[in-house]
Symmetry: D2
Subunit: 337 residues, 4 copies
Amino acid sequence: MIKIGVIGAGRIGKMHTENICYNVPKANVVSVADPLMTDDIVKWANSLGISQCYKDYKDIIKDKEIGAVLICSSTNTHASISIEAIQASKHVFCEKPVDLSIDKIMEVINALQGKDLKYQVGFNRRFDHNFKAVRNSIKNGKIGDPHIMKITSRDPSPPPIEYVKVSGGLFLDMSIHDFDMARYLVNSDVEEVYAQADILIDEEIGNVGDVDTALISMKMENGTLAVIDNSRKAVYGYDQRVEVFGSNGMITSGNDTPSTVVLSNTQGIIKEKPLYFFLERYMDSFKEEINEFVNAIIEDRPVSVSIYDGLNSVVIGMAAQKSLKERHPVKISELKW
Amino acid sequence: MIKIGVIGAGRIGKMHTENICYNVPKANVVSVADPLMTDDIVKWANSLGISQCYKDYKDIIKDKEIGAVLICSSTNTHASISIEAIQASKHVFCEKPVDLSIDKIMEVINALQGKDLKYQVGFNRRFDHNFKAVRNSIKNGKIGDPHIMKITSRDPSPPPIEYVKVSGGLFLDMSIHDFDMARYLVNSDVEEVYAQADILIDEEIGNVGDVDTALISMKMENGTLAVIDNSRKAVYGYDQRVEVFGSNGMITSGNDTPSTVVLSNTQGIIKEKPLYFFLERYMDSFKEEINEFVNAIIEDRPVSVSIYDGLNSVVIGMAAQKSLKERHPVKISELKW
Amino acid sequence: MIKIGVIGAGRIGKMHTENICYNVPKANVVSVADPLMTDDIVKWANSLGISQCYKDYKDIIKDKEIGAVLICSSTNTHASISIEAIQASKHVFCEKPVDLSIDKIMEVINALQGKDLKYQVGFNRRFDHNFKAVRNSIKNGKIGDPHIMKITSRDPSPPPIEYVKVSGGLFLDMSIHDFDMARYLVNSDVEEVYAQADILIDEEIGNVGDVDTALISMKMENGTLAVIDNSRKAVYGYDQRVEVFGSNGMITSGNDTPSTVVLSNTQGIIKEKPLYFFLERYMDSFKEEINEFVNAIIEDRPVSVSIYDGLNSVVIGMAAQKSLKERHPVKISELKW
Amino acid sequence: MIKIGVIGAGRIGKMHTENICYNVPKANVVSVADPLMTDDIVKWANSLGISQCYKDYKDIIKDKEIGAVLICSSTNTHASISIEAIQASKHVFCEKPVDLSIDKIMEVINALQGKDLKYQVGFNRRFDHNFKAVRNSIKNGKIGDPHIMKITSRDPSPPPIEYVKVSGGLFLDMSIHDFDMARYLVNSDVEEVYAQADILIDEEIGNVGDVDTALISMKMENGTLAVIDNSRKAVYGYDQRVEVFGSNGMITSGNDTPSTVVLSNTQGIIKEKPLYFFLERYMDSFKEEINEFVNAIIEDRPVSVSIYDGLNSVVIGMAAQKSLKERHPVKISELKW
């Protein structure tokens, strides 16, 4: 049994905590820290059998009983808390992105050197039943050599403008999942990125310096030509699909829906819309990623999403930002790191 | 080249005539007969290069140049005109049903004895791309031994009440196609029929002694358990599907649609409705059945839909009527013939 | 919080117990009884925090702390244990069928008279996301008046012959779920049943007096014409679909699959087979039915599946058996009860 | 009635000729020219009732009876024959591309100045039922403002290497249809092109200086971000799909298949592959484009695909070539014309 401390009790922190309590038999959450430790959070923690509720995450770091921490605090604290936890010899599960600066991520990587610790980054989509099946099909040679990859990733509606301001921008907030997905599906790094993007949905997003619609072309190191398209607003729901075409065939995955029901009437033949919200859509993948993290610790095997995966996605996002600004394709190797 | 006379210039007669002119290279329509030979029909015929337009079909029967006739007149004339045509040594393509009386169909069969003539019945659906593919899959062993067969056959809207009155009733007017389809798909005759039916759509249909909705269970001679469901009114269009389940798998066919377009919006994921009208839906099958008839004559090989197929469907329809009236299953062998 | 005793620790009993432990916050399983209480069962129970493990279910019945029991023992004990539990003033969740005899079910109904107890029967499929969505669409008038209903229910492979022997036969073991589904979907009782069935898969099943393939036509009291088709062996997996056609449209539900992945290659365009096993397919519905049972107790509202629902399905099954034996349609009212 | 001369009796020339004979009531093909006028071609022409078979297309140009010509000869002759036909006051239907040089297309445009003649370019896909339905949905506001457009266009197998050599390259031979489709679907011109491409299928194609796989990103003048992906070899058949995503929804079209048949077996749930060959897939669109051309002449209204459409596609193709060579995005306005 691993004892876990959860740092940050916002939406994601709570979800991970509940998943561990209900679905991860080999781990216990023993303490939760949040700078705004409210009565509600305490009540929620107690109902799950968690008695230690701290304002200061350092109380978790210095607890010798705790073997692993989940870092679900705000992005700007990820790197420094990671380093403290590593120095206290704790395994770390860190929400994405590790940081928005390559240098800071490198510091975390350096801190890990020589330590026998697991460090997993929260790219939960790698654990989704659809994407895993696509990845496995490709790995098993079902489509031969991959030639063309298309990733569709569209949110049902834009986040609050306050969130957009501090999000790091579309590429590092939203596309970052798709950058990781591209690397995961064809098991190859990215060589070059060309990004097109615009403000087509909400001018407010433009006013705070971000974009809301993007089309990102990439060349993978294994030769696959890839394209990601992102939108902050798909009125029909959360649209998450992939298509990988290769020398021996094509594999695609579609959206999950609340049911398989089809209504035929004078309007047409009508299927259900995709599951609307990412927490519904990826519920099972969130459970599985935490289970995997715990199992990696217990069985002492590599985590499924390493800090290098976390680093790569950020670097690709920066290349996309550079490409969009300078209006030409950008090689990943151009970015110092 | 075969010279053809068309008897009956209603909707179906005209369609066959045009199909022969445009799509059957080895046959010519040389004359058309209709008791109501109007100026419009003459004009239509002339535009197709057909100069001989008669009121009396006997002018076609006695024309020695004519090798084959298409009988598209009213049902009550099918049998007698068939016999006259056979006696004049002409090949016959006869619209379904051959007749509503078993005795009269037997007279046509008797007239054919000893004659080296082709007689094809107009069960066009045997030539439909979907149903042919289902039949061929079964024939090629793709599903093993057939166990369960489900045929859905629903019209988009009821015919005029005047038509219903003289139609012979739902079973002999509409289900008759499905009886033939059942025999065709699993290549077996029907052993027993149990019919449920009701007036659920339009009381007027009940007032003239017919039903508008039916569910017909059948046992095929090869052991397949079959069910046909019919409705006179599917608001989403002409619904024509089959499902055959067997020891090694299942084969289904769906509806054809105007396009493959799918619209995703706040209402749902919306596909196009089926092609609405039987002339659109089965356009290609009508072309192919006439081509097949002409080729059977030219190459002197059996027709694809024989008069025995025509007889069987009528007998099954009568068994269904008897079952509905007497409220118990009826064996085909109970019907004298 | 409700304290629950589970009677019968076979596959289903274990599943319900685990679901309560992990997914039903308002109930606790405090004891488990099984005549073969092995070390393995004790170990399993202890791992879930259940310390009271009995050989004799009466130890549960007489435990005053226990508010509700789950009866997951063999069918022939359902009725008598139900009555004992009712007499001890415990709420009851009983697996289907309540009994294979109408008289015994009536005894349970009588025992419930004047008691303020909940009694729920284990027709879990009513809680399935697909079937619920179909039912709700019909209830909300989406298809108008239902005219035709088709229920497909096929197992991936026959159960062991030893199980078949004691199962009560296909109609009471397998179709019973579909009888309940028919009543549930269109919210109407059955008026008449006509059953066709045969041994098409495995002669051994015939040797023990059962059938393996069936087609059951029914007339519902609200006029809907219905058909159920059953097979003990669908090689492509567990096939569970419904189609309800009405005056304003049609609603269907399809199978759930492990993923939405589609592979296109030289063989065709290939989707995943349905989830193979009923425990996978109906996992969520099992969780929800137990939650509903607990909530019905806590909030003192009617259960979703009453003992009358349990009774009805058995009566329909008997009507189907009679119809198959006597080769004619059987009215439900013919069965005394 | 319009009398038509067909110049070039290769595969496409023959197809157009047959379509006019069988499906275009208001036009007659009266003569055919081909430099290799073989006995087979003469025989074929005669069987269609065409008696004038020439080696020299000038015999058609100088025939005063002929009102329109179809130019189906080799690409390098399109422009000069077009000009001769225009000077002889004949309407022109010209296969794509008009020419591989912008200057030569401009000469044709200049020749058309002041003439009251129709000039239609053979972008048949605009007449396809699927793409027309997508275009109409967008035009009718069904998806709001278009934001993202994805066009998939993959051949079932590469053409002979001899053809590749003279084809003008993937962009001008194959993608050219997709450039036109992009402009057609969202009714907007292209502003900028960025092309990625590689030799992933057959080195021979690289040896003759061409590519076989491409991903082309575009920015449309109306702001739509677009991507085209091309492959010379999709093992599952001819893959022709589009997806357009907008502010109010998404519209997609899929592939046409030989039938709607689905086989379920131990391998999976298997649908038919797309129609394999472009002549099957686009058969109806070829008929309709010629009908439209004839109707545009008769009713004196604009053609559906003008020479400016022909010009635009070639210019976009050149921009793609430039982008691929120079490794940066290319604005259409950079190309002189």
